[in-house]
Amino acid sequence: MTTDLFTRRNLLAAGGAVAVAGMSGLLVPARAQDLAPTRSMRGGSNNYRPGAPIVDRIGGGGFWMTGTVRRAGDGAPLEGQRIQVWAHTTEGHERDERSHGATLTDANGVFRLEMPQIVPAFGQPHGHLAYDSGEFETVFLRPVMSSARDTTLEVHFVLQPA
């Protein structure tokens, strides 16, 4: 009986096992544990007015800003988070106070805020959103609509505890 550990057969088997284990680690889908925080976008904070009031809707409505707020890492939905929204709309410029408003997320981390129709300004039809309440790190977003005729814009936040 041989006591040699490093036979050709053992080496091949061990090497194969290591390779399979390594590959399978790469092939497993990204787990919720790894959910990366949303980064602020360039120009996201332009014309921001801190402390926009929580409103049922901004102006006359007709356009829906929707989205979700989740926690970085495990992806748990975050309830009661204040999301501030502003844009150049049919009722006002980005800088105008009446173009700004805020809403809170529900138990599923979902927010929906009705506002006037966003129209192209500074070359693109775009909105601005902010999470800036302190508990998590501040995030400013500036999503661009795929078409100026869209009547909704969906935006997702993944927040990192501050």
Binding site: G43, S45, N46, N47, T89, H93, V119, P120, F122, G123
Partner: protein
């Protein structure tokens, strides 16, 4: 050149310059913009229209404005072009200061603003080069090459800037004006033989 032909050329040029402006004046976006923002937009459109006039003057293509008279008007129109660019940027600044500061610092999220700012600096540089031409004492060929190189940056930058923007300009007239600006520049560039010395040009 016949009188009829002259009238025809001026008529076509007037139409080519005015139709994009008229089409932009009918833009639905205007109803949601303040006067200073509207003025800034039209200053940009007028600047683009002047970019079409400049090579036509430099090349002496317009009836009654051959060579020296065309060149003299080219300088004046260049001055108006600089003013139009300043009004364009200043009006946008008043409308939304952070967006214009981002653009000027090349950190804007919108790709067209980079091209616009590059074209703006090239306009200022080309005009400055013309203003201090005598003091520079460059050889004519060197000066011409420098001025034309800046104009190439202006034309390319402005056309890309305009095409990428979703604004008050109507799409068909915008693309047509951009195409004509490019064509007029290339025509004058080829005819004036910018890259050769004077005696070879006149030969």
């Amino acid at each position: 050149m016949g009188r009829t032909r002259a009238i025809l050329i001026w008529g076509v040029l007037a139409a080519v310059l005015l139709i994009p402006v008229a089409a932009a004046a009918a833009s639905p976006l205007l109803q949601w913009r303040q006067p200073v923002y509207i003025a800034a937009g039209f200053a940009g459109i007028i600047a683009m229209a002047l970019l079409l006039v400049q090579p036509l003057l430099a090349g002496g293509y317009l009836p009654g404005l051959a060579r020296q008279r065309g060149r003299r008007l080219h300088r004046w129109v260049g001055g108006v072009l600089v003013l139009a660019v300043i009004v364009h940027v200043a009006g946008l600044w008043i409308t939304s200061p952070p967006d214009v500061i981002d653009a000027l610092l090349f950190r804007s999220p919108t790709p067209f603003s980079v091209w616009g700012v590059i074209a703006m600096w090239a306009v200022f540089a080309a005009a400055l080069l013309a203003a201090i031409r005598r003091r520079l004492q460059l050889r004519p060929r060197t000066w011409r090459l420098a001025h034309t190189s800046l104009v190439l940056v202006i034309v390319a930058g402005s056309v890309i800037h305009a095409l990428l923007i979703e604004g008050t300009m109507e799409t068909v007239t915008k693309v047509a004006l951009c195409g004509l600006v490019l064509a007029a520049f290339l025509k004058a560039f080829a005819d004036l033989k910018v890259w050769t010395s004077r005696h070879r040009r006149d030969a």
